[in-house]
């Protein structure tokens, strides 16, 4: 196998397969053969909750041998060719299983959204289906290994589906031999909309009951974690290494509770942006760190006004020289008037104007 993979990954193979690439030919023979790309076969689907309109399922994925593994807390981009649609959809999901090694199985826990084509499809996925994956990405991770534990306590604060990266970290600790003797208490706080919406309820109950120095606090309904409660549950929370992930409202509360403490690490859900015709919101250029108030002009013009000099050609939407990745937000094509909210899509910045908040890689 090692020899085969060395051959398929060689520059010689790439030259012979050009212009299409070795993977294009390999995947024609077997969808699970890859030299560079990562794909994954769904090998298991388990319902976590059955809330009408927003059920949650955990998919077990067997990635191709090209998967390099992940650190607990990282996410992966999932690309999906929906049946009946010519467009490949790409969405990001945190990995919920413990840290993985090269080629090892992972799990994704996905909540179906009413208007989320991809999440709806994945929650009802069938074993055998093959998805496109990116390698694991993201810095919202647990830096220390349980093999060399620090002495500082750990705190996870999550809401809704934001539980997944924290669960990956907690599962990694427990799998790798973490126990109460490490003298390093772990507090796991999670808020769900209702008891019926609680993901991993059984596993969390088991973890809470075990003698492992992990404290689990679950809240349902209106009982969100505010500063007062944080102070009561975790004295000195501002000086505790904390990972928080969840919806914007919850993150705002947590942020306020931590002031500017460097101990707090955040991962935000991307807020759904609403399309309106009036210019509002902020345009963020993630590459340069610049941010401007959306003036309604094209992204190219707004970038230039902010002092950036992006590559451009015709400035009329025909030559594609200015194509840039839009990370999040909605843009309107000024020629066709169509709006697009797909995250991580390539847009022509000379004919795209932001609608509301927007982040582009410039």
């Amino acid at each position: 196998m090692a020899l085969v993979s060395r051959i398929t990954r060689s520059r010689t193979a790439a030259a012979l397969a050009s212009p299409h690439g070795v993977d294009h030919y390999l995947s024609r023979i077997n969808p699970m053969w890859a030299a560079h790309e990562v794909r994954a076969r769904v090998v298991g689907v388990r319902r976590e909750t059955d809330t009408p309109g927003a059920p949650v399922a955990t998919l077990t994925l067997q990635p191709t041998a090209t998967w390099r593994g992940h650190r607990a807390g990282q996410y992966v981009q999932v690309g999906l060719d929906l049946p009946g649609s010519a467009r490949r959809m790409t969405r990001c999901f945190s990995i919920s299983s413990p840290a993985s090694g090269a080629g090892e199985e992972i799990t994704l826990t996905i909540r179906s959204h009413a208007d989320g084509q991809v999440s709806k499809y994945l929650v009802d996925a069938q074993p055998g289906q093959v998805l496109h994956l990116s390698q694991a990405q993201g810095d919202f991770t647990l830096p220390v290994s349980p093999a060399t534990p620090g002495i500082d306590p750990l705190l996870f604060i999550t809401g809704g589906s934001g539980i997944t990266p924290a669960m990956s970290m907690l599962r990694t600790l427990l799998r790798d031999g973490y126990d109460g003797r490490a003298g390093r208490p772990v507090t796991f706080l999670h808020h769900a909309r209702s008891a019926a919406d609680q993901i991993y309820a059984d596993e969390l109950a088991r973890i809470a009951a075990d003698d492992n120095d992990v404290t689990v606090h679950l809240r349902h309904g209106d009982a969100v974690f505010n500063e007062l409660e944080l102070r009561r549950l975790v004295p000195g929370h501002r000086d505790t290494d904390t990972w928080a992930c969840g919806p914007a409202g919850m993150i705002d509360l947590v942020r306020a509770a931590y002031a500017d403490s460097p101990r707090l690490r955040l991962e935000l859900f991307k807020p759904p942006s609403t399309g309106t015709d009036t210019a509002e919101g902020d345009l963020v250029f993630s590459g340069s760190g610049e941010q401007v108030t959306n003036s309604g002009a094209s992204i190219l013009e707004q970038a230039e006004a902010a002092g950036l000099s992006p590559v451009f050609g015709c400035r009329m939407g025909i030559c594609f020289s200015c194509t840039t990745r839009k990370a999040e937000g909605t843009v309107r094509n000024v020629l066709s008037g169509t709006e697009s909210s797909v995250p991580d899509e390539d847009i022509q910045i000379c004919v795209s104007a932001p609608v509301g908040d927007c982040v582009v890689d410039l």
């Binding site: 010519a86 467009r87 015709c314 009329m316 594609f320």
Partner: protein
């Protein structure tokens, strides 16, 4: 040439073209995706077949034919069109204009600049569109004659044989360096890119694949060279028929200052020419046989051009805008005549080599 339409007529013409474009955009979907994937599949089959047939020496001509067809399909219907962003909407990284690197010695990155931007924006504007003569040939009366151009037919022949190399050199703007309007240092970055791509292409076609056939090395090498040659000749002819037969117009920089959208469409129609033919011919030409539709809507999937051509033609006729088209042999003859005629200085009275019907716009 100056538009014979009033600004208002130009605007209405532009609106009709915009509406047509919107209709096609709204209709893009599964069929377009299935089509391009099918073309890629067929092209890969032809390539594998061609490469395999080189192991059977008596099948050498068949091998060359299959590989030539594969290279033509790849350069024209796949590479050219994918790099125009025609399939970017599919979100498939393999068919994305940002990453596709075609089977040609000209690096995609440089080609996208000189072709998608310069040529498609400044189509047939003398002094701006460097595709007019590729900086080598005299292709328009308004290019000043020089004794150098006596070699016009010879240069054209050489450009045809070495077309992919001509395309790669195109971006270096050698003629502008000779003229002194471009400094040699500006080419440094381009050189590296071209050399990298040249090495890749040469290693693949002239070292690796021949070596894989062992003792048949020289035959395979010759076969690959022949396939590249066939592709070059074909591409050159299709492309030269797209802009230079009788009827295709050129424009001056002054005419195109502060151009409106309607005027831009108008120039794209008049600066291009179609080639009539059957469905297979259109596919093998990357649908550049519908050069007019391609220049109006370079980012629409090319398979749509034959579908919309009758409507484009009807709109053009209503506005009295000449829509140049003809069978391949006629367009080729017209281009060849032009190449030869322009080798010589302008005669006292220049006659267009074919009578061109001048249509006037209908009363508004």
């Amino acid at each position: 040439m100056k538009p014979h339409l009033t600004p208002q007529q130009l605007e209405e013409f532009g609106n009709e073209m915009d509406a047509l474009r919107q209709r096609v955009l709204a209709d893009l979907g599964e069929d377009d995706a299935a089509y391009i994937r099918e073309v890629v599949r067929r092209q890969q089959q032809l390539e594998v077949l061609g490469r395999a047939l080189f192991y059977l020496p008596p099948a050498w001509p068949l091998a060359v034919a299959a590989l030539s067809a594969s290279k033509i399909l790849e350069n024209m219907e796949i590479g050219h069109n994918v790099m125009h962003g025609q399939y970017d909407w599919m979100g498939d990284p393999h068919l994305s204009s940002r990453v596709y690197e075609w089977d040609n010695v000209c690096p995609s990155e440089q080609w996208k600049y000189s072709h998608n931007y310069i040529h498609h924006t400044f189509t047939n504007i003398l002094g701006k569109d460097r595709d007019i003569g590729y900086g080598i040939l005299r292709m328009d009366e308004d290019q000043e004659w020089h004794p150098y151009y006596l070699g016009n037919p010879v240069y054209a022949l050489l450009l045809m044989v070495f077309f992919e190399w001509g395309v790669a050199m195109h971006d270096l703007e050698v003629e502008n360096i000779v003229k002194g309007t471009r400094r040699l240092e500006e080419n440094k970055a381009l050189h590296a890119g071209i050399m990298r791509k040249v090495r890749r292409q040469a290693v693949k076609d002239y070292v690796l694949f021949p070596a894989l056939t062992g003792p048949l090395f020289p035959l395979t090498l010759a076969g690959n060279a022949a396939a590249n040659l066939v592709r070059n000749v074909w591409a050159f002819n299709i492309i030269f028929c797209g802009h230079f037969p009788a009827g295709a117009e050129t424009f001056s920089t002054e005419e195109c200052e502060d151009e409106t959208r309607g005027h831009w469409y108008y120039r794209q129609v008049l600066g291009s020419a179609n080639i009539s033919g059957g469905p297979l011919f259109h596919v093998m030409s990357g649908n550049l046989s519908h050069q007019i539709e391609h220049h109006l809507f370079p980012d629409l999937p090319a398979r749509r051009y034959p579908q919309i051509a009758p409507e484009v033609r009807e709109i053009c006729e209503r506005y009295g805008i000449a829509y140049t088209t003809g069978p391949l042999r006629r367009q080729l003859a017209s281009v060849a005549r032009k190449i030869c005629r322009l080798a010589l200085p302008a005669r006292a009275s220049t006659q267009p080599d074919e009578p061109v019907a001048v249509r006037r716009p209908q009363a508004a």
